[in-house]
């Protein structure tokens, strides 16, 4: 099982990155100029962040992503086993049941398109 490997490389990469950042910060010049610390705002004094309006569309996209992502994930076990089902003679049944599922998927997608949930002005 590669779990140990995964953990090892993760930790290694994190340490590697932190090390590089540490070295860079030690080697880099430091100067404390309050203007330099300011948030970037095209050269003018920074505006209050509260005034930024962020569209709920991002959030909608994320919700739809979750839903469709899960539907796609459901297709994965089907996709691996579909050949086995075909050879055991249940192919048509599984195909049809999956098509019914995909139909629901398509219906959802269609609805979202039609309700303009996917439109960015």
């Amino acid at each position: 099982m590669p779990l140990g490997g995964v953990l090892f490389i993760t930790i290694f990469v994190i340490i590697f990155g932190c090390f590089l950042l540490f070295v860079a910060s030690k080697l880099g010049k430091r100067s404390y100029d309050p203007v330099k610390q300011q948030t970037y705002e095209c050269g003018i004094p920074a505006q209050e962040k509260k005034d930024t309006k962020i569209s709920v569309k991002f959030y909608l996209t994320a919700i739809l992503f979750i839903v469709f992502d899960i539907e796609i994930i459901f297709m994965y076990p089907w996709a691996t086993t579909f050949r086995d089902f075909i050879s055991s003679g249940q192919g048509l049944f599984v195909l049809i049941s999956m098509m019914a599922f995909i139909l629901v998927f398509i219906f959802g997608l269609f609805w979202e398109v039609k309700s303009k949930a996917l439109d960015w002005e």
């Binding site: 709920v56 959030y59 919700i63 979750i66 839903v67 899960i70 459901f74």
Partner: protein, 115 residues
């Protein structure tokens, strides 16, 4: 590497990892999540705690599935994941709606919804 001493009774709680270990871990995560639900005031954090509880349950499902040799546990986890995701989506949609109204996600603001 995988040669494990097969013994009926564990000689050592630390060296023999089995089902009870996973169950204890799962229950610890569960009560952590429960504490979050009971104690946090931020609605989103509460929902996250609920996700944590669901995950804890998933863990015990998988552990049972492994140690009882039944795949049903894994199927159940699959379903739980889906439902948890659905719950998160709808719950957060509610939170967004509330936030739009009150500009707050404190759970006490949900009291305005009582009849």
């Amino acid at each position: 590497m995988r040669a494990r001493k097969v013994a009926h009774m564990p000689s050592n709680f630390i060296l023999e990892v089995g089902l009870p270990h996973y169950l204890v871990l799962s229950s610890l995560l569960f009560v952590t999540g429960m504490a979050g639900v009971l104690l946090r005031r931020n609605a989103i954090v509460m929902m996250m705690s609920i996700e944590l509880m669901l995950n804890a349950v998933n863990l015990s499902f998988v552990a049972f599935s492994r140690y009882l040799g039944l795949l049903e546990g894994q199927v159940m986890v699959f379903f739980v994941m889906t439902i948890a995701a659905a719950e998160a989506a709808v719950g957060l949609a509610l939170v967004v709606a509330i936030f739009k109204r009150f500009k707050e996600v404190n759970i006490r603001f949900f009291e305005h919804l009582k009849g």
